[in-house]
Symmetry: C3
Subunit: 427 residues, 3 copies
Amino acid sequence: MLDVSLPDIRDLVRRRRPGYSLEAPFYTSQAVFDLDLEAIFDRHWIFVGVEPDVPEPGDYVTVGIGRQSIVIVRDDDNEVRAFHNLCRHRGARLLHEERGSVGNIVCRYHHWAYDLTGALLHAEHMGESFDRSCHGLVPVHLRNLEGLLFVCLADEPPADFDAMAATMAPFIAPHDLRHCKVAHRMDLIEEGNWKLTMENNRECYHCSNHPELGLSFFPPSFGFDPADISPEQAAEIAAYEAAKESFRARWAACGLPVGPIEDLVTRPTGFRTERLVLSGAGESQTMSTKIACRKLLGSFTEPKLGGLHFWTQPNSWHHFMSDHTVHFSAIPLSPERTLVRTWWLVHRDAVEGVDYDLERLTEVWIATNAQDGELVGYTQAGVRSKAYRPGPYSPFTESLVDAFTTWYVRRLSAHLGIADEPGCRAA
Amino acid sequence: MLDVSLPDIRDLVRRRRPGYSLEAPFYTSQAVFDLDLEAIFDRHWIFVGVEPDVPEPGDYVTVGIGRQSIVIVRDDDNEVRAFHNLCRHRGARLLHEERGSVGNIVCRYHHWAYDLTGALLHAEHMGESFDRSCHGLVPVHLRNLEGLLFVCLADEPPADFDAMAATMAPFIAPHDLRHCKVAHRMDLIEEGNWKLTMENNRECYHCSNHPELGLSFFPPSFGFDPADISPEQAAEIAAYEAAKESFRARWAACGLPVGPIEDLVTRPTGFRTERLVLSGAGESQTMSTKIACRKLLGSFTEPKLGGLHFWTQPNSWHHFMSDHTVHFSAIPLSPERTLVRTWWLVHRDAVEGVDYDLERLTEVWIATNAQDGELVGYTQAGVRSKAYRPGPYSPFTESLVDAFTTWYVRRLSAHLGIADEPGCRAA
Amino acid sequence: MLDVSLPDIRDLVRRRRPGYSLEAPFYTSQAVFDLDLEAIFDRHWIFVGVEPDVPEPGDYVTVGIGRQSIVIVRDDDNEVRAFHNLCRHRGARLLHEERGSVGNIVCRYHHWAYDLTGALLHAEHMGESFDRSCHGLVPVHLRNLEGLLFVCLADEPPADFDAMAATMAPFIAPHDLRHCKVAHRMDLIEEGNWKLTMENNRECYHCSNHPELGLSFFPPSFGFDPADISPEQAAEIAAYEAAKESFRARWAACGLPVGPIEDLVTRPTGFRTERLVLSGAGESQTMSTKIACRKLLGSFTEPKLGGLHFWTQPNSWHHFMSDHTVHFSAIPLSPERTLVRTWWLVHRDAVEGVDYDLERLTEVWIATNAQDGELVGYTQAGVRSKAYRPGPYSPFTESLVDAFTTWYVRRLSAHLGIADEPGCRAA
């Protein structure tokens, strides 16, 4: 395929039509994909894992972002750090497993050895003029938001992370992720562009495709057209409103902040949070709608707290319940493939088989992820066609999809130095 | 590989040497492949299937051409229609199976529903300002030539299809494809450029590679060098001429037009037909050279009718016999891969195991396709080499290969607006 | 990935920093890879095999270099010749097996037949004006250096091969490869750029990764930092020096030239040779350090001759011992994949199971190749990262790596017509 050029991309960005899905090259072009890595994934705060990935000093995980491999490691002073996973000698990758535990980080090739702060401890045969202090591991910016780990590959990361973190901490802190463990971790490769993965996440217009998730989900909670309500839908709306009233009282009684807080479009580190009403028993996103883990998180004693969602641009979403949390990271692999990594966290003292059953804990989101992956694949297959034209988002159920694509187009505009229309200023 | 540029392609087109195979980039370059899709497959009439693919209202098949997926569906008024297989909302592919049957066409993603004329029946939550009538399925031009289905992806398809169809109808109609059924369908991926697939089809210089097909085939029927005939070949020629005489009388008695009619080079919808003498029993392209299906096609009562071939540019060839027909469609997948889809049709009242044995019916062309696929792969492997130079076609046995490549180069010339040399005018 | 342009490559070549590994695009870019094929592999003498690959008239092997397939065949007059493996008619590949034996070379497609000198013997139906003498196989330059086969795809191969061959013949001739047979041949695909394969070969700084090879190897033989020697290393050095003294006497007694001869950097056909001290029994690169084949090569009667290494730019290395030889050829497959082909030769009268055990003969280098392949893959994974920067070679143990990369950069400079800095003249 003759790919689009940079001037083409500038035109595509300029003529983006609000309220509509993007033009095809945004989803299919290698050149746009390369720009996405450069302008979005190399410059924004990317959610890559959770503090319970590295519970002890020396524990590490490796994470790929584009062609970069990053090591996240807890050092001997209990600080979690991130480095580029390559030796300063001839560039060999240092750590080859997804996770493990090390004393120092030693390159297999010529045995250059680094400590867990990244300092080069040892390099043989390099002569007297060689300065070890100039050859430490290349550090990567890392932020730990109450146990959620974000990295930024830019030299100068967006400064607005800290304000976002300050806003979000009261929502997340009660779930006490630092005293959690990873009960399960799953990688799914979706056959679609990463933006289709994100657009799919930002709406529940499609949620009739999710029978398992639907058990704990009120359809009207993600919007509806008030001019077009069937009697059945009216009853659903009434039930939802009543449940919301009851949950609000419960959240207030527990001192839990509720939201919504939404700042998805104009800032680099766009985010959204909202406490969610769950249906049925209202406890958790499970098939029974009851908690899947008897040991509750943090200092919770009440299982029925509904849910809390947290989204970040460009690549994460999270669900927090009283008994467990679920975290999702989308990582672009190629123009038409995306890795979705999912973590299920429970209290670190919870015992599998006693306090929780792993299948009960994970079955809803394993099924939901698979369904979403299929829908993303269908959309990718369609947008490849020359007959594809951007279509209209529903103003009632897809406004947050539009918030994602609008954020994305503004970030590209800012990166490319494209002047904005009045009233549409890039952050 | 540093690919050729558009100016390079223009030079390649201009300096094409008649009577010789094409220069390597025509067979290997991604840029030429993209141009082939744009100039040839998106603008000409492409053979994609047969009416018996969709015998009943609601029956559909999906067909890929380049990155497009097309739905061919019989509507409730028995009209066969073609649409782009994607939803007008966010572009999701609508139908995911190769074939099936539907009432309406409903998108899995957000349940937008279309009827079989392509009209959007239903889209929830879109608000009052949304106009359903502007969001119907995107139609594709379709022509039904006595049961052979051709589509054209261009807005303005070549107008010469109808004249070709009028010429061909008397040849095809007696085989009455509309009252046939698909006895077998097979996909083969050849590891070569689509033009090598077509060049291979346009000559029988290579037919000693086809022992099964050779049982019903007279070697001299595809040309020979009269200056270089062995005694053995002279005997073959005499036998062929005698058989031809006898078949001509037989065809005249049945009122069957004979041809040849050949207009392969100068028109967009280039084609060729000719009634073929078969050897042995002379009935069919089978191992026994006798019919493979006892129930004859249309109103035929005489099994010994020889064959009829029909070729269309750019991508099809067909064999019609008294008892069955075989149809072939070549679809480019990448510069070095081509899908060859083959259909075997018999009378729809013929019963498998009673009137015909499927293995007997299909074995000759299954073997022949595999042999051709191997030869195409060998040629692709060779033309990749920097040492490859266009070689001379045999003036006696490969003139119709030259007709194909000449048609192709003229179509590219017309598309690129390249002025022709005197005496070599593009259509 | 937006690839580098030719001006980018020129800049990369110009700013190459001596003593450091190359910048990332040299290892990852498709454009550099294409240039490597054009400037290096299509223009230099490439080691492709050994005379015992084609012991008898009619024996052939096929070898791929880039997109070219080459046939190496012994003709009826016992001359070894090389041709492009494609038919002059429509370009079909002629020979499809890795090796075999033929009378003539006959194209499967239309039965054009060539003799083993490449002359076209037969082509049917081509008419009287067709001149067979203009349609012979395309020859490839071939040199046979005492049984080592090199080809050059250029019209005008580097003339310095003959001088190199004259220098090397006294080293290689005593091993009498022409009276050897191929005991084993192995292909390994390394997941790295071909230059990483070569760099890895040019140093033993990494040899603690090779426990099997280490059994016959003196660590200090490939350099060390004299300012930083442990007591253990001092003992190793002393043992090595003593062994070298003893071997030198032995080589002199046998009349074997010793070297080192090193001309790796400035000539097109860069090379190096040196007779090597082996440890333990000092006989061969085996686990026992003793010979693996009882039948010695040539007219050798003494098994303890240590080793002889021979390197050529751009793509080969060789080890000669008294009982067997091992030959390695690196062939680029893509920017990130390289074929390493290895041959083990023994005297042609040696009988497997009697004179040698195949596992004993091959186990050291099978293990070593696998270890090297893994290290190359690790390095490729690392240099893909944006965080990669060229790192310093050890001045003591990696100077010959620097000789390889410097040769490479000079050959690119010469090809691109880049003027050299004073004191850094391209050959």
